[in-house]
């Protein structure tokens, strides 16, 4: 059960030729895949393409009807290896993942696939997680395309163009026997729009037919001597074929402009930002009619020499808008022009910054310096932002940063609270982080974790610290997602084999939570077409770990004690602590409607909600420093004698109980209380309640009278 359901939207995937499809980029891509007659789809979720996996998951019925095989792959490598189905058979397939991280994981399989080449169209849809909203190291998928010789498509952020790109990708792949990257930038994945649909195509040759009539061709297997032939084939056959297809189909587009001696070459994905920025400068109109010709580079790799030469021919200078580094395209174009002995000036990095996202602001500066250099008469219009920049600069101290953090009631929070309390006793430890929500521990209020070496590599990232006789074994964090992705072998297995003593805390919350709550092997729910409920502790014991414990995360007392035990025990070998509790985001999504229904149906229900007594709150906020729960916040102190804001639990509280646990374990102030609200109370409830409140009420009145006598 993923964070977001597309059950309603996927109905659109059934529409036929001529009908208008209206939806997000992700959804459009799925429709395009079906229209292209794919036989298999796979991938590994991760922003920005998590929703693509969720859509496919929710589209099971449509996929089944068409006979399309869909797998939620164990890792990007597993997904890429699926491509093998397109090697011997004219079968189309697509896989998807977050890039560049996913491409790193997949590159072994990809390199093998690219070497032997494919018969059926094989497309890798990468969510290019670069710039605003990105959560990973800033690199380019472009490098992988070049090193393994796969083609790279970078369509404009426009639904119809994206769909067109998907359909081209398969044709191109088959025309050149090469797997193709289709790159979707972060916001392209979630851009809304529409296009005219065509009918879905069932795969011409089904996987079943293929597997029942197997064919093999040793020349496609990566093994000498074939592997040497593959390299020749890549440059002599496949590359020219690709160039031919791209040129013929006009995948890259040229838009004319009045001023012929200047021009701009832009990556397809940046086209819209460029046009809107030019518009601000009076260099374009709303429809993209521009002052200079534009070469829209929808296929950044391979480049088409003739197209580049003819676009640059007779021009004084050409501006290249290439985001990210190294500047592969600039180097490539320069060598093309050099060989063609062209005199045109290519202006790229230098006018634009070498690194970083090309926002509208950056493009604006670059364009101004380019145009004013070659058209001295032209003056850039006054920037409205500039006129108020002084005022705005003054605001810096008044706008607090707002980093993402753990959700309200998150079960991972108490794990870090326990770690913090444990470190207060035993001192600080080296903590090796992983990828997942738990990495938010590096931010306030926890400020924990030394490194993160990649998905599922938390434990491996600490292995070097398992030095003999060290008093402080390293602590590693690993999420259940990372654990099943590769952590079981690369982390735990590695630790067992190398006799490491460190502690690994596996955060077991039933889902790949950070990527949007996708199901996984150790998930507790029954999931259609998937096998779940395989306990992590069992897997860990199976691989040879002796010391394992499974602790409910909200039990801070036990968690803290278990941590101490793990870090002080004489036992040798790796220790694994499975910290278990369901992801609150998913739990609420499941339970909230149920509880609402039960209450409405008159069923007796008890709801917990926490609160803080402003009168006894010290205004020290230690509780917040140990929690960071969004629902645990502050408000101005009602007491005229006190100036510190008091802690306060807002109505988003889900009653997870963490606040109370923390108050106990950290010996904080006595201000926290838990309210247990009884909905639809039974007769006994009402009777007891009436009795108690009457007696207590009477006692309270007495006390109040006594107080007033003294007042």
């Amino acid at each position: 059960m993923a964070e977001r359901s597309f059950k309603k939207e996927v109905e659109q995937l059934r529409i036929g030729a001529g009908e208008v499809f209206n939806g997000e980029g992700i959804l459009a891509v799925t429709k395009a895949l079906l229209q292209s007659g794919v036989a298999y789809v796979g991938g590994y979720q991760g922003s920005p393409i998590s929703h693509l996996m969720d859509v496919l998951n929710d589209a099971r019925d449509v996929l089944d009807e068409l006979g399309v095989h869909f797998e939620a792959s164990a890792s990007e490598a597993a997904a890429a290896a699926m491509g093998a189905a397109s090697v011997n058979y004219p079968i189309r397939g697509a896989v998807t993942w977050k890039s560049t991280v996913g491409t790193n994981v997949a590159s072994d399989a990809l390199a093998n696939l690219a070497s032997g080449g494919v018969k059926g169209g094989m497309v890798v849809i990468v969510g290019e997680d670069y710039g605003e909203g990105s959560s990973i190291m800033q690199e380019r998928t472009h490098a992988f395309a070049m090193k393994s010789q796969m083609w790279l498509i970078d369509p404009p952020p426009h639904v119809a163009s994206i769909v067109e790109a998907v359909e081209h990708a398969f044709e191109l792949s088959e025309a050149s026997n090469t797997p193709v990257f289709l790159q979707l930038r972060i916001r392209s994945c979630h851009v809304s729009g529409s296009f005219i649909a065509s009918d879905n195509k069932p795969p011409p040759l089904s996987l079943r037919e293929a597997s029942e009539n197997p064919q093999r061709d040793t020349s496609r297997i990566v093994l000498p001597p074939a592997s040497f032939l593959h390299e020749q084939e890549k440059v002599n056959k496949r590359w020219p074929a690709a160039v031919e297809y791209i040129r013929q189909k006009g995948m890259n587009k040229v838009f004319g402009g009045q001023v012929e001696d200047l021009g701009i070459i832009v990556q397809g994905g940046l086209y819209n930002t460029l046009i809107r920025t030019m518009e601000r400068l009076g260099l374009a109109d709303a429809f993209g009619k521009t002052r200079f010709p534009i070469y829209q580079l929808n296929v950044p790799y391979p480049l088409i020499d003739e197209e580049i030469e003819s676009f640059c021919a007779g021009k004084q200078a050409v501006l290249l808008v290439e985001e990210g580094q190294p500047n592969y395209t600039e180097q490539n174009i320069n060598s093309i022009l050099r060989q063609g002995e062209s005199s045109v000036k290519l202006i790229g990095k230098g006018t634009f910054p070498m690194a970083g996202e090309y926002t509208s602001e950056i493009l604006r500066k670059g364009l101004i310096s380019f145009v004013s250099r070659f058209e001295p008469g032209w003056i850039a219009p006054q920037d409205p932002v500039h006129s108020i920049s002084a005022l705005v600069a003054g605001l810096a101290p008044n706008v607090p940063p707002r980093p993402p953090g753990l959700c309200t009631g998150c079960p991972e929070r108490p794990v870090f609270t326990s770690l913090k309390l444990m470190q207060k006793e035993l001192g600080d430890f080296h903590i090796s982080g992983d990828i997942g929500c738990h990495l938010f521990s590096i931010l306030p209020p926890f400020n924990m974790g030394n490194t993160t070496m990649g998905y599922g590599l938390g434990t491996a990232g600490a292995s070097a610290f398992n030095t003999a006789g060290s008093k402080k074994p390293p602590i590693s964090i690993m999420g259940d997602g990372g654990f099943w992705h590769n952590g079981l072998t690369s982390g735990i297995g590695n630790a067992v084999f190398n006799k490491n003593n460190g502690l690994t805390i596996v955060i077991d919350n039933n889902y790949a939570a950070a990527t949007g709550g996708q199901d996984l092997l150790s998930g507790k729910n029954d999931v259609r077409n998937r096998s779940t409920q395989h306990p992590i502790e069992k897997a860990v014991r199976g691989i040879g770990v002796g010391w394992t414990r499974t602790v409910k995360t909200y039990d801070i007392g036990k968690m803290r004690a278990t941590l101490k035990e793990a870090l002080t025990t004489k036992d040798t070998g790796p220790k694994v602590l499975v910290a278990q509790s369901e992801c609150m985001l998913n739990r609420q999504r499941r339970e909230k409607p149920l509880v609402k229904k039960e209450i409405a149906a008159g069923k007796r229900t008890i709801q917990d909600r926490f609160g803080v007594d402003a009168e006894t709150c010290t205004g020290d906020h230690a509780c917040i420093r140990l929690s960071g729960c969004p629902s645990l916040t502050i408000k101005p102190n009602p007491d005229p004698l006190k100036t510190q804001p008091v802690s306060y639990v807002d109505n988003s509280c889900v009653g997870c109980g963490n606040c109370g646990e923390v108050a106990h374990e950290a010996v904080l102030c006595p201000s926290f209380y838990k309210g247990q609200i009884v909905y639809n109370p039974g007769r006994l409830d009402r009777l007891l309640w009436a009795l108690r409140s009457r007696v207590i009420g009477w006692l309270q009145e007495r006390t109040e009278r006594r107080r007033l006598r003294m007042a």
């Binding site: 392209s188 518009e279 932002v385 707002r402 020290d620 906020h621 502050i634 006595p670 247990q676």
Partner: protein
Amino acid sequence: MDHKFEHKFERPLTVAIMALGGQGGGVLTKWLVDIAQSNGYLAQSTYVAGVAQRTGATVYCVELFPEQQVRESGQQPIFTTYPVPGDVDLAVAGEFAETGRAIQKGFVTPNQTTLIASTHRVYSILEKSAMGDGIIDQGPVMEVAAKVAKKFIAFDMEACAESSHSIISAVLLGAIAASRALPFDREAFETAIKAGGRAVQSNLAGFAAGFEAGSQTMAVQGGVKASARQNVAMPVAEGPNGEAILARVREQLPVEVQALAAHGALRALDYQDFKYADLYLDRLDEVIVLERSYPEGTQDYRLSNEVARQLALQMCYEDTIRVAEIKTSGQRMQGVRKHLNVTQQQPAHVVEYFHPRFEELCDTLPQSWGRRMLASQRARSWTRPFLGKGRNITTTSLLGYLQLATLARLKRWRRGTYRFAVQNEHIADWLAHIQAAGDLQLSMAIAQCIGMVRGYGDTYERGLHRYRKILSTAEQLAPEQRAQRIRQLSQAALADEEGKAFTDALKLTEVS
């Protein structure tokens, strides 16, 4: 406020929505797209998934273009995926600090942008986790916003959503409709809500409330710092003793000090008895005399006011007796039920989280016992089984209530307790330092410094230890250096819990 829509479509109309987790930025975006598409406009929206979900801040972008113009020109407009700075027609922020962020990002410019903002705050983790008052003042944002926006509509949308039992995104939609920044009339908006089919009634209510407020409001002051609260009002007495105290305050104290002094004295009365309130005022009198003796004069009685505040808090320290008294009071119970927002007869049990330590136990014992117990390791280990872990006490159950009520009754013997003795020595010592200071600056610094001694357990001990360290460190310096040094150190003492900043700051004195 003009009520006509003005935007010539030479380019798309851009809407930037600054969203926080759980504020329904996605819902709002979808509404806008639906409204546009069902009213003859092309619309494109983009967002970054999951960021807002996990409580970060993110930007939704919506662009509109009239279909008719597309038909006439036979060309498609080029939409952006991220608002172009300096080219935003409508900027929306469902929280006030995000308004500042919108301005910083260049989404608000004088001759183009209608800015719609909620004045309520969702505090950032840095503001929340500060050891004292970390709330960042939003006054400047309010001023700048009013200057840089073409039209600025701001009101407390959280309150608006609560009173209309709706959600902020519905209120925002109402304000947007009212602003006339989009080419659609009220009906168009309401139709979209109805078409949405989810929580239609409450959404319509929220929309109406937002429309209402948006139609008449201009910027309301919001986001004011707690500590910036000025002029405390004179309290009202509940009985004869209170009256007597207020009388003494009015007759004997300078008018500038009266309000805080009255609050303090009544607190002492409520905390202990009339005698204690008198003691409070006697102690305060001495400080007033001191302040008058200083050459700076007494135009505002800063010192006396500060002491009036701090002295009350020190004298009415929160021991187990006080906590029990507060937890069992009828008023407090009403407050809790209000917070839990339960109906008249609805049962709601209240569980308190207590973790009294050995120290708190000794505090409440008769002076001599307390002192001896505290010294005895054996007593410490004997009591560990009972004090080692926290206790949950249900104050809505008879037994739980009686436990605490009985504890509260110990009030009459408080004067005899160990903590009372210790606390009053500590207060006397503090006042002596203020008296001995020799100049207003130093007296003031010492008076403020004790603010860090508060609360229970670790918080209290940490505060007390740092406070003493600061005074002793200052005493090694030349008198004229002390005041400033105490202020530096006090600031450092409240910078972080672990005391890193404090230790660094202390090192500074050693070298100087």
